[in-house]
Symmetry: C2
Subunit: 326 residues, 2 copies
């Protein structure tokens, strides 16, 4: 019986669910893959860097280091784990959407031992699908995606005539947004996902290079949350105008990430209502791969791209991909 030791950084909602799923499926994994998944350590922000470093330094091979934090500070741990010959599984987007050099270093150190399916679309098959297209020799013409369930919800409501401010407030009330809705409305989270996809395409690009169009003007950035929410209705007229103009052309507004071998843009677009992206409703994520092989009809993956349970399952699937390599 082979054994895969697990070290785990970040035991929040997703982290706990990963542990729950792995525990529940431990026997099934043993039976089907002949691998025993054994937790060796769980770490939170309460642990010192020394403790974490020591644990990684002394972890018996083969091991996998899971990162379900949202921290920029895990990079040295990830590098150490890869240097030692361990696997790394990331739900954390930060290490791959920071500096290009860090992205490159992680890939050089890790190769196939670096797994991060969950960083785009949670449990949906996005990263592996893209990597398979590339390595089998397909040529990526364009990737289009809607990677924010929150913004998907907003613009589905706006389709139906609700005002921008009303729908943001409703989304916040329902818990669909971050505590500060600007964290969603800035588009930064989507930009990080687009950046990861662009880099997989082989582009050398930094976060600042992405043409990112925020959904609120700069001047509202300084306000506290409460004042920001009060000012939201000053944006309603502009969004109403955009929505009506789109509607006249049989289009709808969607917050779209667009990645090509030449460019990377993230922002609001008026897209044909009948297109893949235009027909997207509510909080679903969508990714459309247009390639040389999938040119006339693209390859499309759609479904919930966020949420504790499906994100955890995506992390778990990467752990299993590691287990298969033993």
């Amino acid at each position: 019986m082979k054994k895969l030791n697990i070290l785990h950084l970040g035991i929040g909602n997703v982290g706990r669910e990963v542990i729950r799923q792995i525990t529940q499926q431990k026997k099934a994994v043993r039976d089907s893959l002949g691998v025993s998944l054994d937790y060796q350590g769980e770490f939170t922000s309460k642990n010192t860097p020394e403790e974490i470093n020591n644990a990684i330094q002394n972890a018996p091979l083969p091991f996998v280091l899971i990162d379900t934090t949202a921290s920029e500070k895990t990079l040295p741990f990830l590098k150490l784990a890869l240097k030692r010959g361990g696997f790394v599984v990331l739900a954390n987007k930060k290490p791959l959407s920071g500096k290009q050099k860090d992205f490159d270093d992680l890939h050089k150190l890790g190769g196939k031992r670096l797994l991060y399916e969950c960083t785009v679309g949670a449990g949906l098959p996005v990263i592996q699908t893209l990597k398979n297209l590339i390595i089998t020799g397909d040529e990526i013409l364009e990737i289009q995606g809607c990677f924010s369930g929150t913004l998907g919800f907003l613009f589905s409501q706006i389709d139906e005539g609700m005002s921008f401010s009303q729908t943001v407030l409703e989304a916040k009330e329902k818990g669909f947004t971050e505590p500060d809705p600007r964290d969603d409305l800035s588009g930064m989270d989507v930009a990080r996902k687009a950046l990861i996809l662009a880099r997989i395409l082989g582009r050398k690009v930094e976060l600042d290079d992405i043409q990112l169009e925020s959904l609120y003007p700069e001047k509202l950035q300084k306000l506290n949350v409460e004042d920001f929410l009060k000012q939201l209705n000053t944006l309603d007229a502009s969004y109403k105008e955009k929505q009506e103009k789109a509607q006249q052309e049989n289009k709808v507004l969607r917050f779209v990430a667009q990645v090509t071998p030449e460019a990377c843009t993230v922002g609001l677009q008026a897209v044909d209502a009948a297109s893949e992206i235009g027909s997207l409703r509510g909080p679903d994520n969508l990714i459309v791969f247009k390639t040389k092989r999938y040119s006339q009809n693209p390859l499309v993956v759609k479904g919930p791209g966020a949420g504790i349970v499906v994100t955890a399952a995506g992390v778990f699937a990467d752990v299993l991909a590691a287990a298969k390599m033993l």
Copy 2:
């Protein structure tokens, strides 16, 4: 540098394209995975079983046996390859959609070394997605799919008011159907795909157990192709009636495979025009996974599910999955 030796059964259109893609990407694979993909033998129906057996018996490990035939007779070769510790990659559906015992034997012998992404949806990520859902502990409630580009084309035309006979004849003329269109219209190919999915769900089920509704009546089976095509228009009134009835209810006709833990049906259904399946157009394939985790909004994969180049790329991706396990 690790080496993965390749034996390959069935060098037709797809087989040749697999060889072309692997040859073209050989260097990229070596650079990114550190594995050299080396062809050791190509076999067609001109080779005797003894020749093939000998080649498998003497193949140096690690090796992968690719099956891009459409033959029922490759089973002993596949079993021998797995027994020897080799990998097996199937585009051929027959070995997995024959007797349940053979499906079980192949899986017992092969485990993770048995790969067959291409048997459903060609290069689309279907099988691996389903297996990941299951092993991470999700519960599959229902799989719905349109797995025939040919039948997809037919019913898109019928949506637009074309007669059944007219659209079959047009599809045949365009080369979208098999030489004998009954090979498509019987639904047998779709049934084999549904069977494979049902078996992955753990069901013990034979091809005969599937409720398969052919698109033409039994009595037309005896005719030669020419006479069959002449008789096609006797079916027009019945399809017209079905289409109009569906339209009145805001539905469209689709040839649907439906797999649940309890049942497996393949046949014509009137589905909501606005549903995932109802909004499918033309020759695309579609698969909708409704699971405990993806319940309200399913996980959907869509795109061309047939064709030489994308099928070959799917085979190649499985070969790469094998290479990663070295």
